[in-house]
């Protein structure tokens, strides 16, 4: 991770900026209109609130309650065991239907983008949710630099497989590596984000260091962590949860309160830090921005 100390937002500064925004009433007003708020205030990294002014969860909550089965299935396992992951010298292989793929160091990739902060809601398929201030960049422009060919209709992603560092790999019920994928238009959508940091700090390993996907209108399992491979393909790629239980986890996995998981309701969610549940929003509240991607599609069938 090459983010200099001066570029990142320390937690106190972060809060000052949020208070500043609230003071102006901008966050609330823009949020109510469903518009992102652009804040110019802080040095180097612009910040945008896509969570309608809602208070982000604390760094401790975000970094100690994780699903990252490579490090164990308990929510606290990743925080306990992910420190074993080596992120130095991280490389990402870009393959498939593109004319400028290759094997890149993370630094090479980050040179092609500019970092920004985005505050997104995150909704897990298990019916809990958070608000997370991610640091990272929009995926689309990076994908363009690999020059996808006309055959490219999907983008697949893979997480690192490090048997010596990931104790959860011993569990054989999942066919590792963890795989995810998006339709190319979803991957190119301006909300689709790659995160390299959190609260202005480098991404904690349990949150998917050094680089992870963030797709805020889909269930959390789509936002694959610790990515080592990006593959352009003409056919829909296999994705881990869909391979495990196709009747329960679809390829699209868009947040949808009207289509419940076969075993539990998706109509409501518990925001981490709150005791009671709240209603889940269609596309996790990003319907205005993304609903057009699925026009004419039966979302009950393509769940």
């Amino acid at each position: 991770m090459k983010i200099s100390r001066s570029e990142i937002t320390p937690e106190p500064l972060f809060w000052n900026r949020r208070r500043f925004l609230h003071g102006l009433g901008l966050a609330g007003v823009a949020g109510a209109l469903g518009l992102p708020t652009r804040a110019a205030a802080t040095p180097a990294v612009p910040s945008t609130d896509y969570a309608a002014g809602e208070k982000p969860n604390s760094f401790a909550q975000i970094s100690q309650y994780n699903n990252f089965y490579e490090f164990g299935t308990d929510k606290r396992d990743p925080a306990k065991h992910a420190s074993a992951l080596t992120t130095e010298g991280w490389r990402v292989r870009v393959t498939g239907a593109c004319s400028a793929g290759g094997d890149f160091s993370l630094e090479e990739l980050l040179q092609r983008v500019s970092l920004e902060e985005r505050i997104y809601r995150l909704r897990c398929v298990e019916a809990w949710s958070m608000v997370v201030p991610w640091l990272g960049f929009e995926l689309g422009p990076l994908l363009q630099t690999f020059k996808p060919t006309p055959e490219a209709r999907y983008v697949a992603f893979e997480t690192a497989v490090r048997p010596k560092e990931m104790r959860g790999l011993k569990r054989s019920s999942i066919d590792w590596p963890y795989r995810e994928g998006l339709r190319l238009d979803e991957a190119m959508h301006p909300l689709t984000f790659m995160a390299t940091g959190l609260y202005g700090k480098p991404l904690p390993k349990q949150n998917g260091a050094p680089i992870r996907l963030v797709v805020p209108w889909k269930y959390g399992f789509k936002s694959i962590k610790s990515v080592v491979r990006i593959h352009f393909s003409s056919t829909q790629p296999k994705t881990t949860w869909n391979m495990l239980q196709p009747s329960e986890y679809g390829f699209f996995a868009n947040v949808n309160p009207n289509h419940s998981h076969p075993r539990w309701s998706q109509a409501r969610e518990r925001r981490i830090g709150e005791l009671f549940k709240r209603d889940t929003l269609m596309f996790n509240g990003y319907a205005d921005a993304v609903a057009s991607l699925y026009e004419g599609m039966d979302l009950r069938r393509y769940f």
Binding site: A60, K75, L244
Partner: protein, 193 residues
Amino acid sequence: MRRSRSVSSAGLRLVCFSACSLPLLFAVYWSFTAGLGANPIEALTHHTGRWSLRLLLLCLAMTPLQHYLGKPWPILLRRQLGLWSFFYLCCHFALFLVFDLEFSMRLLSEELLERPYITAGFTALVLLSPLALTSTRGWQRRLKRNWKKLHRLIYPAAVAACLHFLWKTKISELEPYAYALILAVLLLARRLK
């Protein structure tokens, strides 16, 4: 001779009581020390559900254990284990009713109709409630032979509780299967008796 035995059985019951109260004490302690993690309601719900099932299985193990050891003491603990299991079950259901459903009977009926794991868990609660209510000596006397018949409901309740856990778990976790296996062994032990 008689006196020393009753003293030791009282001691045994006290040890059992203290041990069974530990999950409760830990839950209280964690609640006040942020030991429940980022999602305390979920943590408490899982904790009370787990201990209810564990104690239910332990309760079911007492009769086979008595036969196996040829000693009467496991039977002395049976009622208490059953009541503790029911206590944790009530906490488990109360957490669900208060924090997940906010007392909404509409949500509860939806969950009962649409979610098999909720149906199974609720079935266990319904089956075990009369057993807890009639666990006293007075009821034992009043119901006579029917008491034993009634209390056989613990078997379908235990099956329902195991299914509840199996159906809830997201991926093939070992824990619910372990409990189901233990239950199968206990039920088999009774058949072979």
